[in-house]
């Protein structure tokens, strides 16, 4: 049973976060876009088959007549039936209005209901199986659309949820790591092995980020000095998108959970980090379903969020986009503007959404989808791969991630519908489509050293080299930049072959936030500098390296920079011992 949630001043109004629903049926919790739309939401990701109802019970203080609103969105507004439609039932009776039809996140009116008892059952019934979404439900007596909420949703939410400023619960650790991808997991393991008490905060139910069974990208790169650690969490070289990812998932989760001094906070998402005098005091996180909050305190923090959120909140310097080739001297005539532009821009590498099909023994229906046609056009496909990738210069990989994900869903459903028209594909069925955006590039936090293409070209041998890699630099561009006949959701890779290259420790801690490490794609590098080390064994190496640096920090009660200035040899010796 959920707690009663009361709007201040309007005692009888009731606000329910959809992700709080006790029984979510077939709806999934989507916390990817919290920073943009204010909260996780639930989504009917049924790949065309309506999912099971989500249900919950709520206690009202007052019986009587209520108007019911749902905060939802028609995710493909246009001249067609909205793809993600659903209805609300109250105590088993459906309200008349079909929801999910208004463009943009907004309150849609569901209907009127007369409550005869204080306990109310609310049910969300998906009608289409195509990603209908519901953020919250609101009951009021005045039939006034809670429009004022839209102006400043975050603060409005705090009021209606009667949320205190700071989380009531607080936990203390030696090291707080936010982000449970390969980098975060490796950092947790390497620090925990040396005795640190570690918190690992991750916003999904499973570990691994892009390598998880929820995204399904295989790990690439070499193990460097951390083979033992990385072999606990890596993947086999299954085809991207393969359901084989589940075997590595089980192993990875089991291995990380086996450490008694790693407190794992799965389904917790960081939402704030506050620095005083350039030193982070705490990270606040919220449970993605229950909304419970915890304040995490530690002398040092690791930003392994991929998007650099901890650094961003704390005021760390960061970069985004493609630098001019003049900034760091990264031009490569062979590929010119595709590689590194004359003038800086925001055309970063895109995000992928992977998918897979299944061949059954009988014909499977998959009808044409007018709302997907605009994107897929005539492209036909029965599965995805790494090159199903989307970036466009009006879209930011963080702020517009929901639109990017939705564009990819249209590409997938539309291309599959096209392929299904062929006789040879009649028995194919969509087996799995991810709803998580697999990002390649977003914010890059700035460290004492900015890693660039020249460090690959020159194979710079840093005295503080802690990560090594031989995989080629691999930078992507959208195919439609060169060929207008190509769909806008496919990419091409440019490769620069290289000998072994090294990444210095100085690019793994923040320049201006003195107790912040970073590992993963948000480490300190240029756009092209990211091209090589962005693969997951390399980012895993970064994680393992910062975990060990945190051990030295703890030993001498120092900040990350002082490991480089005063204890470098001891740190490098500790890394050597890991093999």
């Amino acid at each position: 049973m959920l707690h009663l949630l009361v709007v201040k001043g309007v005692a009888q109004d009731v606000f329910i976060e959809a992700e709080n629903f006790v029984d979510k049926g077939g709806w999934v919790v989507d916390p990817q876009f919290v920073e943009q739309m204010g909260s996780p939401y639930i989504m009917a990701h049924g790949m065309g088959i309506p999912v099971a109802d989500a249900k919950t019970k709520v206690t009202f203080t007052e019986k009587g007549e209520y108007h019911v609103w749902a905060r939802t969105k028609n995710w493909v507004p246009g001249n067609w039936e909205a793809p993600g439609q659903f209805k609300i039932a109250i105590n088993g009776t459906y309200l008349k209005t079909v929801l999910g039809t208004a463009p943009d996140w907004d309150w849609e009116y569901a209907g009127k209901v007369k409550l005869k008892s204080n306990t109310v059952e609310i049910q969300l019934s998906d009608l289409t199986g195509f990603n209908g979404r519901c953020d919250a439900i609101y009951f009021n007596k005045s039939k006034k659309m809670p429009a004022e909420a839209e102006a400043n949703l975050a603060s409005w939410r705090k009021i209606v949820l009667a949320e205190t400023l700071a989380p009531e619960k607080q936990k203390n650790y030696d090291l707080v790591i936010t982000g449970g991808g390969l980098a975060g997991c490796a950092a947790a393991i390497s620090a925990a092995e040396q005795g640190l008490n570690v918190a690992l905060i991750h916003d999904r139910p499973v570990l691994g980020g892009n390598a998880s069974e929820e995204v399904r990208v295989h790990t690439l790169g070499i193990y460097g000095k951390y083979e033992r650690i990385l072999k606990m969490i890596d993947t086999k070289h299954y085809p991207n998108g393969s359901s084989d990812a589940k075997y590595d998932q089980e192993r990875r989760d089991r291995n990380v959970k086996s450490f008694k001094n790693i407190d794992l906070f799965l389904n917790w998402r960081g939402y704030d980090a506050v620095a005083e005098n350039n030193s982070i005091q705490y990270v606040d996180a919220r449970h993605t379903s229950t909304g419970a909050r915890i304040r995490f305190k530690a002398p040092r923090f690791v930003d392994a969020t991929g998007d650099g959120w901890i650094g961003f909140w704390a005021g760390a310097e960061f970069s985004y986009g493609r630098e001019s080739y003049k900034t760091y001297g990264e031009s490569w005539d062979k590929w010119g503007e595709l590689w590194s532009p004359e003038e800086a821009d925001d055309f970063v590498m895109g995000s992928s959404v992977l998918w897979e099909n299944e061949e059954t023994n009988e014909a499977q229906e998959f009808s044409e989808l007018p709302w997907a046609k605009d994107v897929a056009k005539e492209h036909k496909a029965t599965a995805g791969e790494w090159y199903w990738e989307f970036s466009r210069n009006d879209l930011h990989q963080i702020h517009d991630a929901e639109e990017i994900r939705d564009h990819m869903l249209r590409a997938i459903y539309g291309s599959f519908a096209n392929a299904k028209k062929l006789e040879k594909n009649k028995n194919y069925k969509l087996q799995w489509v991810s709803y998580l955006v697999g990002k390649r590039e977003s914010r890059r936090l700035i460290g004492d050293y900015i890693y660039t293409f020249n460090d690959v070209r020159n194979n710079t041998k840093f005295e503080d080299a802690v990560v090594e890699e031989i995989r080629e630099v691999d930078v992507h561009y959208q195919r439609d930049l060169k060929d207008k006949e190509e769909p806008d959701f496919l990419s091409e890779a440019l490769f620069y072959k290289t000998k072994k290259y090294y990444i210095p420790y100085r690019s793994l801690y923040s320049k201006n936030i003195e107790n912040l490490f970073m590992a993963g794609r948000n480490f300190s590098c240029s756009h092209i500098g990211l091209g090589g080390p962005r693969v997951m064994l390399t980012t895993g190496q970064m994680g393992a390296a910062v975990g060990l640096a945190a051990v030295i920090c703890e030993k001498y009660n120092i900040n990350p920079r002082e490991v480089y200035t005063n204890h470098l040899q001891e740190y490098l010796d500790l890394i050597e011992k890991q093999q």
Partner: protein, 366 residues
Amino acid sequence: MLIAILFAITGYKNQKRPEYKPLFFSMANEWQEIAQDKVIFEYTIKSSDSAYADPNIHNVRLLSNNKGQPRLFFSEIETTVCADGECKLANINVYWNLLGNYVGYGIFPKLPLTKYDHVSFEKEDYAKLHQLFLDDNSILKRRKISDLVDTVSISSSNTSLIHVDAISGATRTEIKESVVKGGLYSCYTLWHIVHGEAKDKMKEHVQSMHSDSLTAYFLYAPYEDYQKYGLKQLPKKDFKHHTAQIVNIFKTNDALTRGYILKKIPDADLSIEKIATQLYNTFPGVDSNARTLLLKKLENANSIAVEIVSQYLDYLTKNQLILYLTYLKENPGKHTKKVKRNLIRTSKNKRYAYSHLVKEYLKNRK
């Protein structure tokens, strides 16, 4: 070797033999205009077999027309193609354009290319080879020959039920599609010569010949890569002397080039009504990325641009529309009657997904 000798003589004065004629040529008729021929540099091709251990030295020649204007690079290539220890010779004549990009090839009729089993190439095999050479980012580039013939293993659980487009990198299927059947070794060897070290030297050479007239030749040529190079060589200050052609390139070249033009074109040029009109009138026909850049340039462009874009609001993505409306909000002086008329029309367009945002904007203005 008779042909080689003839070619080596500077200016072969219409002594064209049928052998010079390329089998495939992706430019217009430049090869027919050639009147001068000069050896520019040498490059070496290493044999893939120890029996031919000596590196094979080849010439690259710059071919020019009767006015001495450079037009093509050319090389007669003879190389060994080896498979399973068995080697044979392959002879082709390759043409590159002035940027070192492959444009065509010919063969000696008496020396046809052969496949693995010594069977001569068929007509369609030659055509496929030309297509393969044209792909400068071919899958062959990143693979060793040994990788191309090995079976790619896919884990057993995937073999029956799951079908993917490809595993990461490449599959044999992808390779098969791009090479001549039974001619993998020939294709692989020749592709790497055509796209080998000689290419970079040609580019260096053309850079050393830099002149305004050559830049103009590139800029006005009907080839996308030439236009790009011309734009790159053209100083910003000279853009205004070539606006008609630059707008033409903007309309017809690829999205990447459009972006390049919009980044490079000086604000002073954009503030001229005629140039802004020409450029912004392309709005409905260009790609979405170019539209974003055109919108971002509104603040520097002549006022006419704001009106032109207002005719095409229903082409805008959500973020583009927000960009436009934000611009109008910050520049109320640009909110002309024409702009307002178009805003009202767009707000009523039921087929446009974001008409509600325009409606909201108009409501807030009242």
